[in-house]
């Protein structure tokens, strides 16, 4: 259907290119958007209803936020719990795709960054990639992918970039092509970046009204562009507010209602990640994962069985890390980090997980 970068197809060992088409098929994305009910209507439903109705096997699923900041992790966990299969994961970063691999939720990956910054690379992802449990079908830098989402939001079939030139990323991405800048008489290579259209995005925000108008704090990263691009969008929100509250708030709406298919009231929907204005990372969860669980495949499986399947919803997760005590401490820690509470007495010390520690030791 599309004329892909041949060298990249060879390097990635992709024979059936039909798996690549939907991501850049702007006509089908427009059709999907046209077919939506555009009315201002009540879109509230439960998380399980929203995931069941809007996430299909094989969908291109977009990660949101930034790894463990403002990412719709509880939405993603519900996708895994419902046993959805063979998704293509995309996102800048796409850190959270990796634990979907062990359950067969993530099969393909549009790769920009998977890892934990100062905690290093993702051993679980590296292992699963080598074993063929997940396959990279396009390789990106954060900026190139961000431009692809932005082009979609701007309604353009693509854009030209000065990123990626000279790198091996261009030899491992079927969607990217180096071209001569058509406006220039001199040698001026540019990279054509097609607009990117995921099938489904789950985005977590601070507040949404029942129609899907959204407001959030902290970095948008790619969320505004992805909401406009994706064929289907589920919003999970710390709270539902009235339409009047959105209208009279200085920020207005940052994501408009007509992007949105479902609105889920879901306090702690970004947990165990960080939510701006609300709560801090569940440090115990991440530290134990990085230090202990990801070392072996059995360790990963046992860890995520315990955390994702061992709690049927976010209430179970909160109970595991200390309930209201965690909420109180975590909220103070986040608010102080953001300069909205006093910082004295708040402990940010980076404690490494050791065997035998429980949630009170690293909370």
């Amino acid at each position: 259907m599309f004329d892909y970068n041949e060298e990249a197809l060879r390097n990635l060992e992709i024979e059936d290119t039909s798996i690549l088409d939907r991501l850049v098929d702007y006509r089908s994305a427009r059709e999907a958007h046209l077919k939506k009910d555009h009315s201002q209507r009540d879109k509230r439903m439960s998380l399980s209803e929203a995931v069941s109705e809007y996430v299909q096997d094989g969908d291109i699923w977009a990660d949101s936020g930034f790894s463990y900041v403002k990412s719709a992790l509880q939405g993603w966990w519900e996708v895994i719990r419902q046993g959805k299969k063979d998704l293509q994961a995309i996102g800048s970063p796409n850190t959270n795709q990796t634990y979907g691999v062990i359950y067969g939720t993530t099969k393909y990956c549009h790769m920009s960054y998977t890892g934990a910054e100062m905690r290093g690379y993702d051993k679980m992802f590296s292992r699963n990639l080598k074993e063929g449990k997940v396959k990279i079908i396009s390789d990106w830098s954060h900026g190139l992918m961000a431009q692809g989402f932005k082009a979609a939001q701007l309604g353009m079939p693509g854009c030209f970039s000065k990123q990626g030139l000279g790198s091996d990323i261009l030899r491992h991405n079927p969607y990217l092509k180096t071209m001569q800048n058509p406006m220039s008489k001199k040698n001026d290579p540019v990279v054509f970046v097609p607009a990117l259209y995921p099938d489904i995005a789950i985005i977590h925000v601070n507040a949404a009204d029942m129609y899907g108008n959204c407001r959030f704090y902290g970095p948008a990263v790619n969320d505004v562009a992805v909401a406009a691009a994706a064929r289907k969008v589920i919003i999970t929100a710390e709270e539902i507010v009235s339409n009047r509250d959105i209208r009279y708030h200085a920020k207005g709406a940052q994501i408009p209602f007509n992007n949105i298919d479902a609105v889920v009231e879901l306090p702690f929907g970004a947990a165990p990640g960080y939510m701006p204005g609300c709560y801090y990372w569940m440090r115990y969860f991440w530290e134990r994962f990085f230090i202990e669980a990801q070392v072996t495949e059995e360790g990963c499986k046992a860890f995520f069985d315990e955390w994702i399947f061992g709690s049927k919803d976010v209430h179970g997760l909160l109970a595991k890390v200390g309930g209201t005590k965690w909420i109180e401490k975590s909220r103070r820690r986040a608010r102080a980090a953001e300069g909205d509470n006093e910082i004295d007495g708040v402990n940010y010390r980076y404690k490494i997980w050791e065997k035998g520690m429980d949630t009170a030791d690293i909370d």
Partner: protein
């Protein structure tokens, strides 16, 4: 003083006052914070997740975390954040590396094997390629040994001078390219014609032969005697340990 403290100090000296700099987590953040508390109080920090010029606070552990956008005058979207580097609004960028070759091309993708079956899959680009492609001056930082300074990188994530000479310019890359590499052994720059890595100064106790032993490619040497890198005075170390990274998150060994 440990090697990480030395690296943090030397890196901080690469920053001039009033510059806008693109930084990631780890040593670049420590160095930038030290620079701001010492010789460069008016620098502006920019992060790929969108944070800009946060109020100083604890050391951030993630470029998306609250310490990168604490009371920022504005927080940009990711596409706009890199866009300002393309538009010439950012002076310098700092990057780490898993492998680096003699032309300053860096790899953070994979080690060994093939792309589809690597020995180790690393993080991928993240914003590294974008920063390396767009900022006016790029500075690399990391520990140095022959597994990191290699004849050929297994994957070019971030372009340096590619095959040397004018190759970077011919490839159409906007940013000026790497100007320095700060390692545990010394400070390197690039020979202007060949664009090959050249010793600029070596840390105290490091000879040119020792630096060469810690490299998988030939290090060019400057004419004349090789200068010794300036070490931080006690008052700088005090600021580094007491104020910049009191918990030793990045400079503890």
């Amino acid at each position: 003083m440990n090697p990480l403290e030395m690296i943090a100090y030397v890196l901080s000296k690469q920053i001039e006052d009033h510059e806008v700099i693109y930084i990631g987590t780890g040593l670049p953040m420590v160095a930038a914070s030290l620079a701001k508390k010492t010789h460069a109080p008016h620098i502006t920090f920019v992060y790929e997740s969108g944070g800009q010029d946060p109020e100083p606070c604890e050391m951030p552990w993630s470029v998306g975390g609250p310490m990168t956008w604490r009371k920022s005058p504005m927080i940009m979207e990711m596409a706009h954040s890199f866009g300002q580097a393309a538009q010439g609004m950012v002076d310098k960028g700092f990057l780490g590396f898993a492998q680096l070759d003699m032309y300053g091309n860096a790899n953070t993708h994979m080690i060994g094997g093939t792309y589809t079956n690597p020995k180790v899959r690393l993080t991928g680009s993240g914003g590294n390629n974008d920063v390396a492609s767009l900022v006016d001056k790029l500075i690399y930082v990391g520990l140095q040994d022959p597994s990191k300074f290699v004849p050929n990188v297994d994957f070019i994530t971030s372009p340096g001078y590619l095959t040397g000479g004018n190759a970077r310019e011919e490839a159409g890359i906007l940013g000026g390219g790497p100007v320095a590499i700060i390692t545990s052994a010394g400070v390197y720059d690039f020979e202007p014609e060949s664009k090959r890595v050249r010793i600029k100064s070596l840390h105290p106790g490091v000879s040119a032969d020792l630096a060469q032993l810690a490299s998988g490619f030939e290090l060019l040497r400057p004419e004349g005697e090789i200068p010794v890198t300036e070490v931080p005075g006690p008052e700088i170390l005090e600021i580094l340990r007491r104020e910049v990274d009191p918990n030793g998150i990045f400079i503890g060994m």
